[in-house]
């Protein structure tokens, strides 16, 4: 059984991610212990809340995260957990991120559209990746966020339209760090399939 560690840095409801992964057949540990993280087959970077708090809470794990990512094993960042993979964010004043993927996190501009972008929206696949194996184009997934990731084509796996086109899912150059702005663990059967795909590549 694959061992997946959900990095616990004090933010967010980890229960549904955990249940989703268990549903996908993984053994799940929620931990902030570096040795646990390094021994994992796959790591989840969860997160809801504010970018600055997330970076502050995770400060002690930066070397561990680098070592883990350099080992080539898969990591999945979800929602804010995706955003902190980026170089920087404009949320709460300019804040530096993990810089695992080049790009920045921006707020949706003020317009007629509601912010947060909340609910089920369809995503367009831009690149093939085993994470999206068997997932049809234009599938619906659940979003809730006020900031979005702005990155290059090369690092965009899937995109979504909400007033503007933004990255719904991203990948690093090496292909082992992926992120989703949406919540697979809240996206019904489609999301569970993605979590199964993730466990399969771990």
């Amino acid at each position: 059984m694959k061992k997946i560690v959900i990095i616990d840095y004090g933010l967010g409801n980890l229960r549904s991610v955990r249940k989703g992964l268990e549903h996908a057949g993984a053994s799940v540990v929620i931990s902030s212990d570096p040795s646990e993280i390094m021994s994992a087959d796959g790591v989840i970077m969860p997160g809801v809340g504010a970018f600055k708090d997330a970076m502050k809470n995770i400060a002690g794990l930066l070397d561990t995260i680098d070592d883990y990512v350099n080992s080539g094993k898969p990591m999945l960042g979800i929602c804010l957990g995706q955003q902190i993979l980026m170089s920087r964010s404009e949320e709460g004043g300019e804040t530096t991120g993990l810089d695992l993927i080049r790009g920045e996190v921006l707020r949706f501009p003020h317009s007629d559209l509601k912010v947060p972008h909340m609910g089920w929206n369809s995503i367009t696949m831009n690149q093939k990746h085993p994470f999206f194996e068997g997932i049809p184009d234009n599938t619906y997934v659940y979003f809730v966020h006020s900031f979005y990731v702005d990155t290059g084509e090369k690092n965009t796996l899937a995109s979504c339209e909400y007033g503007k086109n933004f990255a719904a899912s991203i990948v690093n150059d090496a292909g082992n760090v992926i992120g989703t702005q949406f919540h697979p663990e809240k996206s019904g059967d489609t999301g569970l399939k993605m979590l199964r795909n993730f466990v399969a590549i771990c």
Binding site: G12, N13, R15, S16, K19, G20, H23, V48, G49, A50, H110, K114, V115, P116, H117, M118, G119, W120, N121, S122, Y140, Y142, V144, H145, S146, E161, Y162, H183, E185, K186, S187, G188, D189, G191, L192
Partner: protein, 273 residues
């Protein structure tokens, strides 16, 4: 394209079965509708976009039952779950989120201590704080700068008064101003229920729904009065709501979530099917 959300609401009460879904008319006269976890699974299979549980007993004993119901539901249903009813403190919010809810809905306590919204939003994030606003039409137009006068369907001027304790107590607070205030305090969403319509099958209260949808930047969930899928259509088109909540029509088998969505899709409302 972002779709309009259809949200079945389960009013849960404590009984010897350990939690039963009930539904009343104008918040009283409750009928039994079934086991909450089973209903949640059924609605998930029908394509519900989210689920709302309201603990309408909200007593101390009710709370632990509710925690159990949330845990059992969250273990099996992988769509967003909002829980409300008797949430009174940061500790209550924490407990409910920890049990597996994605959002909490705060109603009476928000009126009594608005700081709870602000604090909860700062700690847990705006995305999980829903403020529930129950309101009632008031056609007694007094000369008061603190009320927002809207025009009802027949042209009568009226303002909407916030009511609390499950609709039993009027507060004198203007619903439009209160909604703006809770947005400022950090609510991520508003669940708007018209007491005049709740359980009536007469359709959403359009004037207040439209006003809040236009005035606020956060999403508005319309609630109270749905009797058929066309009422949902009106809520989205005339009321400009982002999501529509309904209980009775789903519980008592009049329409499934899927029927409702197919109807809406035919009328060009974006829905997830």
């Amino acid at each position: 394209m972002l779709t309009k959300r259809i949200i079945p609401c389960l009013d849960v009460t404590l009984d010897e079965a350990g939690g039963t879904v009930v539904k009343g008319i104008e918040f009283v006269d409750l009928r039994k509708a079934g086991d909450p976890v089973e209903l949640a699974k059924r609605y998930n299979e029908q394509g519900a976009d989210e689920l709302v549980f309201l603990d309408i007993t909200a007593s101390h004993e009710g709370r632990s039952t509710m925690i159990d119901v949330i845990e059992r539901t969250a273990n099996e249903v992988f769509i967003p779950l909002t829980v409300g009813g008797g949430i009174n403190s940061i500790e209550d919010v924490r407990q409910i989120l920890r049990a597996g809810a994605d959002k909490v809905s705060i109603n009476t306590s928000a009126v009594k201590k608005p700081q709870l919204i602000k604090e909860a939003s700062e700690i847990f994030g705006a995305q999980c704080i829903v403020t529930a606003i129950d309101c009632k039409r008031n056609t007694n137009i007094v000369d008061n700068p603190d009320i927002t006068i809207l025009e009802l369907e027949d042209g009568t001027p009226a303002w909407y008064e916030v009511v609390i304790y499950g609709g039993r107590q009027p507060t004198g607070i203007d619903a439009v101003q209160w909604a703006k205030k809770v947005e400022e305090l950090g609510s991520g969403e508003i669940l708007l229920t018209s007491m005049d319509r709740d359980g009536t099958y007469d359709g959403f209260d359009i004037p207040i729904t439209k006003k809040l949808s236009e005035e606020l930047e956060i999403p508005i969930i319309a609630s109270g009065g749905v009797g058929n899928p066309d009422h949902m259509y009106e809520g989205f088109v005339k009321g400009k709501a982002d999501a529509a909540l309904a209980a009775s029509i789903f519980h008592f088998g009049e329409y499934t979530v899927k029927d409702t969505k197919e109807y809406l899709k035919e009328k060009s409302i974006p829905v997830r099917l």
